[in-house]
Amino acid sequence: MSRKMSFGGVLILVLLGAIVSGCIGGEKTTTPTTTEQVTLTWLSTQLNPPEERAFVQEQLLTEFKDQTGIEVNFIPISYSDMATRLEAEEQTGEVTINLIADLHGGLDFFASKGWLEDLSGKTLEGRTFISTFEKYATIGGKKVYIPWMSATYVMVVNKKAFEYLPDGLTQEDVMKGTEKWTYDALLEWAKNLKEATGQPQLGFPAGPKGLLHRFLHGYIYPSFTGYQAKNFDSPEAVEMWKYLRDLWQYVNPASTTWDAMGEPLLRGEVLIAWDHTARIKNAIETNPDQFVVVPVPRGPKGRGFILVVAGLAIPKGAPNADEAWKLIDYLTKPETQVKILENVGFFPTVQEATGAIPSGPLKILAEGVAAQSATPDAVVAMIPNLGEKGGQFTNAYRTAFERIVLKGEDPEAVVKELGPQVRKLFEEMGQEIP
């Protein structure tokens, strides 16, 4: 398929080349003058679904053009295509990309190859980036990208569930994410709920397209073992799997068929659920009075959670770097960030924007996300950037889950078998094991 596409692409390029050289070949542009229209090329692995793309093109970029007169060509692209194109342009020295948007892992990789401009000296007025994001954006002493949008996975609690809290745990503890809000407390709570209501009330997106694997490698593994993958087959991990097996008695069995938790929460099939913010947004928007978003519990090694950060970076040698910087400036303005949250559900990376969110469902989400980010015992996990091997990485966790929790196999034997496979993926990609 991609073979055919690239052939088509080449054909189009050849045709375009013929047209361009034939028509305006004589007066090929060298230095952009002030009157000339600048068109920026912006490659993005984010906001690619059609409706999000439409939002970028029709709202964000139209407004940007109105303000600055700069045209932007927004090109949604897959990570591997972006990497290939960037590498080709950097190696031939003919850079045409002005701006790239990608997740932290991808940008980290591009930076390690030396393909990104150092943005250290530049400043953006009137905004304070959340320090965690600022920290991750600085790689090897260089500021390689500007944090743009973030997302995470949280817990949603139906307020009814607070009636069944276990002894010693208060609603305040859960909402703020205190020391007492632990995985053991969650187990107690889930048990109470099942005994009181006669049905398991905890839910996870464990269906084939659900994101349970993110919970496994980014939440419960770091919470119990301190790492996502490094201690995959440690004794702590075995303890963790035993815990999860206990917990699963109080998890709605239909979880294995659920891809997103919004609907089960709305149908009242579960009172507590864990999922990606984007996948529970509809529940909170439909019934903002019924649900609260809370930080995840903590484990023996801290409160593990995933931060998804998308950043904006300028490739080394990009033409029109000043105009590209203007676009970065526009995209990180608090107003723009709130607009992005309202339309596509990605969270702001600047503090001023968090304050600017109008009250309502989004505020509930943003507060939960902020409370989680602000917990002092945070063990932040970034989704490893394994490219094509990403599927195999997540599949290892899902396989462990199926074999240990669903099929009842011995946890020690399973993790001993899968651990080396997980570590090998990182070795093959030449990356440190997180």
């Binding site: 398929m1 006669g198 049905q199 464990a206 269906g207 084939p208 397209k209 709605n252 069995p253 239909a254 979880s255 294995t256 068929t257 659920w258 891809d259 149908r267 009242g268 099939e269 094509e388 990403g390 599927g391 195999q392 997540t394 599949n395 199926e402 669903l406």
Partner: protein, 284 residues
């Protein structure tokens, strides 16, 4: 422009041929290439990898099991319904319309409808709880309840796809000349004898078409299983999709696609070979 009439048929077939070549032939060759080569070399590594995965065998088992339960039930049910409707009674047209309504609903939509009916807080459980037949809801979904998921899939498929078989069989029934039946009646054949000796043999072509269509579709069963059971009940099309979209294993996904294609061809050939249609006029 005049085209020599002997070339005309070829011209007329050309678009269909081009379509098949492009949308069936090309992907098929591509799938074969992806599945049986590695780094440009002929290799059986992917085949071995696929066959070593327990999911493959489970998927094969469940796909065949589902087809084995669903297809005969559908044909039986459709035959009963068609025989019931194939007589003159008030509200006949309405009954036929009502029976064919599920034809208009996609498998994913049907899956969602049945999901909400069978969920613990769904219609069925509420009904049974209210009339006091059960005290706790019946669980249909979840890995622990795979046999119930299997049942839910069978129910949903019967509801959704029996109508296509029904339509084919009813059309077949209506083509049977009343003369045969009247003649048999004159000679004193009762209803069962007429059914066995005349109706069923004459229906064979219709039953054959219905069986082929349904069995081939059963090999590709996907949406309904995906909605109702996820990967709790692995099926060939579902596993191929999962391998392709989640694991990016294009080679393994190709094997799944080829297995589905192979099974379909094999089953189609078996039906045609062993279910020779009989025509009373020919068989003397």
């Amino acid at each position: 422009m005049k085209i020599k009439s002997s070339y005309l048929p070829y011209f007329l077939v050309l678009p269909a041929f081009a379509y098949l070549l492009f949308f069936v032939g090309y992907p098929l060759v591509q799938a074969l290439y992806i599945a049986f080569t590695q780094n440009g070399q002929l290799s059986l590594a992917t085949v071995r990898k696929t066959f070593a995965d327990p999911y493959f065998w489970e998927a094969l088992k469940y796909t065949i099991a589902l087809a084995g339960v669903i297809v005969p039930s559908q044909v039986g049910l459709a035959l009963i319904l068609a025989l019931g409707v194939n007589r003159v009674f008030k509200g006949k047209d309405f009954t036929i319309y009502a029976l064919t309504i599920p034809l208009t609903i996609s498998d994913v939509a049907a899956g969602l409808i049945w999901y909400s009916m069978l969920s613990p807080s769904g219609f069925l459980n509420k009904l049974l709880l209210n009339i006091g037949i059960i005290n706790n809801p019946i669980y249909f979904f979840g890995y622990q309840y795979r046999h119930m998921e299997f049942l839910a899939i069978v129910l949903a498929e019967l509801w959704r796809a029996t109508s296509i078989v029904f339509v084919i069989i009813l059309a077949g029934l209506q083509m049977i000349s009343r003369e045969y039946l009247e003649a048999a009646e004159v000679f004193g054949a009762d209803y069962w004898t007429r059914l066995k000796k005349i109706v069923i043999p004459l229906l064979k072509p219709s039953i054959q078409s219905a069986l082929i269509i349904r069995t081939l579709f059963a090999m590709q069963i996907f949406g309904i299983v995906w909605i109702l059971a996820g990967r709790d009940i692995p099926i060939l099309a579902g596993e191929g999709f999962y391998r392709l979209t989640e694991l990016k294993e294009y080679d393994v996904a190709s094997i799944y696609a080829l297995v589905i294609a192979g099974l379909s061809i094999l089953l189609g050939a078996l039906y045609i070979k062993f279910m020779k249609a009989e025509y009373l006029e020919v068989k003397r």
